[in-house]
Subunit: 98 residues, 2 copies
């Protein structure tokens, strides 16, 4: 099963625990990086990389407040999983991009 199907099933699965993940996915944009070789991103570059990724997302998505960025990091079996989530503006119309 591909990663995207796994994640999609994880978020939209049936049992209780997935429901909480779906609630947490609400109103926020989540960017997840799964890097198979742990430790490759030098810790001091992580904040810079995160900020640059955020700058790209801000161009295309109605990010409400880029100070409201949550960041999670997990390392398991030589794989780094970095998650960044930002709040989305309440308005529904698409951001007009110059």
């Amino acid at each position: 099963m591909s990663l995207i199907n796994l994640i999609s099933e994880a978020i939209f699965g049936k049992d209780k625990k997935e429901k909480t993940a779906r609630e947490s996915a609400k109103e926020r944009l989540h960017l997840v990086l799964v890097n198979d070789r742990a430790g490759q991103i030098a810790p001091d570059f992580m904040p810079k990389m995160r900020q640059e990724l955020l700058e790209v997302l801000k161009k295309y998505l109605p990010i409400a407040d880029d100070d409201d960025v949550e960041f999670n990091f997990a390392r398991k079996e030589n794989t780094d999983i970095m998650e960044m989530s930002v709040s989305l503006e309440k308005t529904d119309e698409k951001k007009n991009i110059e």
Copy 2:
């Protein structure tokens, strides 16, 4: 359960189907965007946004060949899940970043 724990459990879970996802996570960097408001990224901007995200990743990670980019997209219950994966160079030493 937070999204990162769910994804981490999904990749490193026990049963058979997760194993194939772990295999597919191997040797590749995966970037997953979970956007709670489907359709917010105008389709014509998706390729541009993807390319710009890739440019950021290339600065910090030993991406082998940025033509070897796999892209998956799923839409479920008003949520868009976009996955981009790129192959990582075989070398282990960290990329020296100017």
